[in-house]
Symmetry: C2
Subunit: 647 residues, 2 copies
């Protein structure tokens, strides 16, 4: 963590100074906002937290419920999500509280004795896939962490609760605030009061029954597997030995998934219930908690399950549905109209809970959208940037849906019992194999954005084969040269809307030679009239306010000489113009394979890896392709001088 | 973290339910308390946090200042202290905020060019000394973490500020509350109001000028090196390249120590100032901040130092002083009188700041005292246990003082310039060597308690050569069998007043054989009339409320069968009688040397390592020496049935 830049300040460094431009929040809604977020679920809160970083952006988030969530539905936190939590500065809290999923065990019918028997055991996440584990934690706690981040931000952003979304209209000729939204207060004291609010942008994070989605005329389309499942969080006594593992049980009496939960005692069980008829809804089945428990007991037989407390339970039907577009611009007007309303999370895609993707994927939606809204509203980019949101996220959601459909089907299939080549049901071994093969997907690493204005071609991919353009930046350990601290390189990327330029130096070149490729790159960025740093960093801001350049050398830290580093790698910042020492790294870390090896970086030539504010790799370039770098940013940014920033 | 044992509870699991027996804290002091702590420094807060775990103990902590510390003096946090913070559940917050000290560099006069030159670089902490690094963080933040822990505890303990200690009297015939204390309110609203309070025990954590120490007629005795030093926290611009390392500079113009600080910009400099005359006090020298900065600039020459902001500075003289006894019982009455007043921290020993021991050692004082007070007040032990506090802590403080005197002397010596065997001054290489040799001391690992009622003889030390009786339990990684999570074994030891029994199983014995040594130990503990678990665990409490037994097997986790483990290793706890799965471990952890190897545990015979509530090793025994185990606890505990608990 870096702090005290603008003078020593006592107290918790997470609590930033409130911005002077933020008015204290009142009970009533503001009349005009830059962004209105509808819904305080994981998608809405990720977006609110991201926008809270920019106190110049007037953000408002409303929620129908009367206060913060106490009891969550979702619980699985994928590795990729943990990486994002690190950017929001609370990963260590989640790591501490959550239950870690380390291994998954697989059970099948016991052919001789009846009942079930363990037939497999696999590591949950392949080695090296992420520096974070897959964990499980109550969604309500994730909300708490986001709310705390918002409260501590310079914006001091807090949700407005007890607001029900009534509808919105978009008038493209209405000037700066084209969206008019109507909300109804639903708390007893103000019940029935309708508030009208004008917004530049509205984002519907209001769940599967999204009112925002309806108001822009979009629909969730998809099928239902007509299969009812129950889910319950329980405190129970059992002799089933794997109750603290993630377990997939296939039995003669149905299937069941065990998800151990935080705190060491709580467990979630997903229990297969009935096959539904065509058009039949699960709600009509009258499935009770007692039936759920009885089904779980049948499946786990001969093991006993004595349920002591059930904090939460529900029934649902499996279904994968998706919206064809995530904004209010009709396909046919894509070239002529700009979006002002977006939908995210369950509002535009729903999954079965068992791949653990609902909450995770939803948060990635708005992590994708947040920095784009901030870039447009701050005048850094043209509003065309916002078209990439639906384009990027809808495609990857479709891929997820396809995976999820297959996965959910396997979960609901009968286990194949005989070895006679009978194709009925699913072979337990195949089921386990599918799980292993798709681990990257469930870990949240399946996302791969296609080339676009913000995602370069992979022309130079060979320079860094482990940093695949369009995928998330895969962190690895490096050593900070200023103080010999081993750190994860990816953790320098905070959710602050900045772009990262990771310059991996060529081996043979001395670090301190200004004629080296790193030296030349720094010179270009500092001096050239084509330099993105010069062109897009607003006057008066720190030199790294838009582009955060970091250099990684192959020499050991004691061979690197800070005194002769380019000035851009020891930038002077803040009101005292203090030196920022945290830009320079060595790849040599004790007992660790070096990052050049781990990520396939060309040792002779080095590489420049350009990473977006949402941690996805935008480009891999040779260190000396300065013009390509300039051209890339020229395509998406507008000069700081001429920006017509709204904030 | 374990939680939800007594039912699901939403919200932050760090916030425990307030105990029904704790009355809301009022502005005025209670009239009678079990323990009064004078002083909210590191020693006082460590004790308050420890006692806050026991809501049945009425603890009161008072502080002369009007509120929490904002700007700290001490900053170094030794590895040993981090281990203790882990027991108080906030190590991860300190790790995140603090500056890590990874390497130390050494500078000496440049013989040819004048000025200074780097001549050495060493790793700060030897590999494997602790699972935690040596870090640096503002003392005020350490206070904050303790205060939060207290606020979240079942006791909801908060300090009473603006209370000045006037004096105390001890009347050994006065019944349950032999100590009478007078305090004066010093806030404007109540200025001059004197409050009188009766206490069973009073602990003076009121600093080097301790009023509590004075009131029991004890004195700090020692010498002063008659050498003035200055210390300042600065935000500065410098071209000195090691400004983010811990640096010892020996120059022709005096000596200087650089301590990089949290946040990436702040730095502390310890600067050698003048030699003082006999009996001269530093306060009389008129050392100003300007003089301090000028001295630092001279020492760092030819590097520039441009100071931008100085949040805090001070001058001091080096001196090591210590009290001969830490309680109110005169040496000659040691056998006949029991202590009721204690002193801790700076009240009984002072050091030079540069070995970074003041704050660290002070906190270990009260971590030693806290569990003993809790054991006596809860009726678990006889009050004779309290005699061990002064006995243990005074001896190790004397050792520290001796080390510190030598260390501080070296720091103030001129660097030896010629290689002619001239014995004037200190050889820079010797200085560096001394630093390396004494790393364990500065890391806080120098403490080694002598045999006593709570520290066994080392008769069986050969069974676990790396767990030295009388030293702190040195953690190592193990794998939790219930869920395959790799954890640090030492981290199961929380600051909860419980004893840990780590049973390391013999290799050849199957884990689930009740005739194995582990099986027999469990049988003894569960069934024998000599069992400490049976004899000292109060009725109605969880079976592990006093003794927390953990077993570590040499088999891999998948070879261990939970279903046939002894019941004591899967105890049923809490209101629902849920199973606690977190008692059983495997020594086999991927890519890690196993704990038997790391700690020299006899693989053929195993070992039982008994660890005190303050994490110090009380005993190493063969697994089958049941009677020795029983005898050890019979010497310090009293049967739960006959306990005359005060709480």
């Amino acid at each position: 963590m870096q702090f005290h830049l603008n003078g020593f300040k006592p107290g918790d460094p997470h609590v930033l100074d409130a911005s002077a431009c933020v008015a204290p929040q009142t009970d009533t809604l503001p009349q005009e906002v830059d962004v209105l977020i509808v819904g305080c679920g994981p998608a809405g809160l990720t977006l609110a937290a991201q926008l809270a970083v920019f106190p110049g952006i007037r953000t408002c988030i409303v929620e129908q419920k009367e206060g913060p969530l106490k009891l969550g539905q979702a619980d699985g936190i994928a590795c990729r999500t943990m990486e994002m939590f690190e950017a929001f500065n609370f990963s260590e809290q989640v790591l501490k509280e959550a239950c870690w999923i380390n291994e998954v065990t697989f059970w099948k019918p016991h052919e001789q004795q009846g009942g079930i028997v363990r037939h497999g055991r696999v590591q949950d996440t392949e080695d090296g896939l992420s520096e974070f584990p897959h964990v499980v934690l109550n969604q309500a706690r994730v909300h708490d962490f986001y709310l705390e981040f918002m409260r501590n931000s310079a914006s001091r952003l807090e949700p407005h609760y007890s607001r029900s979304f009534l509808g919105l209209t978009v008038d493209h000729n209405a000037g700066d605030y084209p969206v008019t939204v109507q909300l109804e207060r639903v708390d007893a004291a103000h019940s029935g009061t309708v508030e009208t609010l004008k917004a530049r942008y509205v984002v519907g994070c209001d769940g599967a029954r999204s009112g925002v989605r309806r108001s822009i005329g979009r629909q969730l389309v998809g099928d239902s597997a007509n299969h009812a499942w129950g889910v319950m969080d329980i405190l129970a006594v059992t002799d089933f030995p794997d109750i603290r593992y993630k377990v997939a049980v296939q039995s003669e009496n149905g299937n069941l998934l065990v998800i151990p939960r935080e705190g060491g005692y709580l467990v979630r069980l997903y229990v297969e219930m009935d096959k539904l008829g065509e058009e039949e809804r699960v709600a009509n089945r009258g499935i009770t908690l007692d039936k759920l428990i009885a089904a779980a007991q049948r499946i786990l037989h001969p093991y006993k399950l004595e349920v002591k407390e059930v904090p939460w339970w529900s029934v649902y039907e499996i279904g994968q549905r998706i919206c064809d577009k995530y904004d209010d611009v009709p396909e046919e007007e894509a070239g002529t109209r700009l979006p002002h309303v977006f939908i995210a999370g369950d509002a535009c895609h729903t999954h079965s809970p068992k791949a653990g993707q609902g909450m995770n994927f939803s948060m990635q939606d708005t992590f994708n959208l947040g920095w784009k809204l901030a870039a447009v509203l701050s005048g850094q980019s043209e509003p065309q940037l916002l078209l990439t949101y639906s384009h990027e996220r809808q495609v990857v959601a479709q891929e997820l849906i396809d995976f999820d459909r297959e996965w959910a089907k396997m979960f609901s299939d009968r286990p194949q019992q005989d070895a006679s080549g009978n194709s009925q049901g699913v072979d337990p071994k195949e089921f386990q194999k599918y799980f292993e093969q798709h681990g990257r997907f469930t870990a949240g690493m399946g996302t791969h954005y296609r080339p676009s204005s913000i995602c370069g071609e992979n022309t130079h991919q060979h320079l860094a084969t482990g940093f695949v353009v369009g995928t998330r930046f895969h962190s690895a350990p490096v050593l900070r040269v200023c103080d010999a601290k081993p750190i994860e390189l990816g953790h320098v990327a905070k959710a602050d809307g900045r772009w990262r330029l990771y310059a991996f130096a060529a081996a043979a070149e001395p670090a301190n030679d200004m004629d080296s490729r790193i030296g030349a790159l720094c010179k270009f960025l500092e001096e050239s009239s084509d330099s993105p740093v010069r062109n897009y960093t607003p006057a008066g801001q720190d030199i790294d306010a838009v582009f955060d350049l970091r250099a990684i050398f192959q020499q050991g830290h004691s061979e690197l000489n800070l005194e002769s580093m380019p000035a851009l790698l020891l930038p002077r910042k803040g009101r005292h113009e203090l030196l920022d020492y945290e830009k320079i790294f060595s790849s040599r870390v004790k007992n660790v394979v070096d990052i050049f090896e781990l990520r396939g970086i060309n040792r002779a030539q080095g590489a420049l890896v350009v990473v977006r504010p949402d941690q996805y790799i935008a480009h891999v370039l040779p260190l000396d392709k300065h013009q390509s770098l300039a051209d890339f940013f020229a395509g998406i940014m507008r000069p700081a001088g001429v920006a017509s920033s709204v904030i």
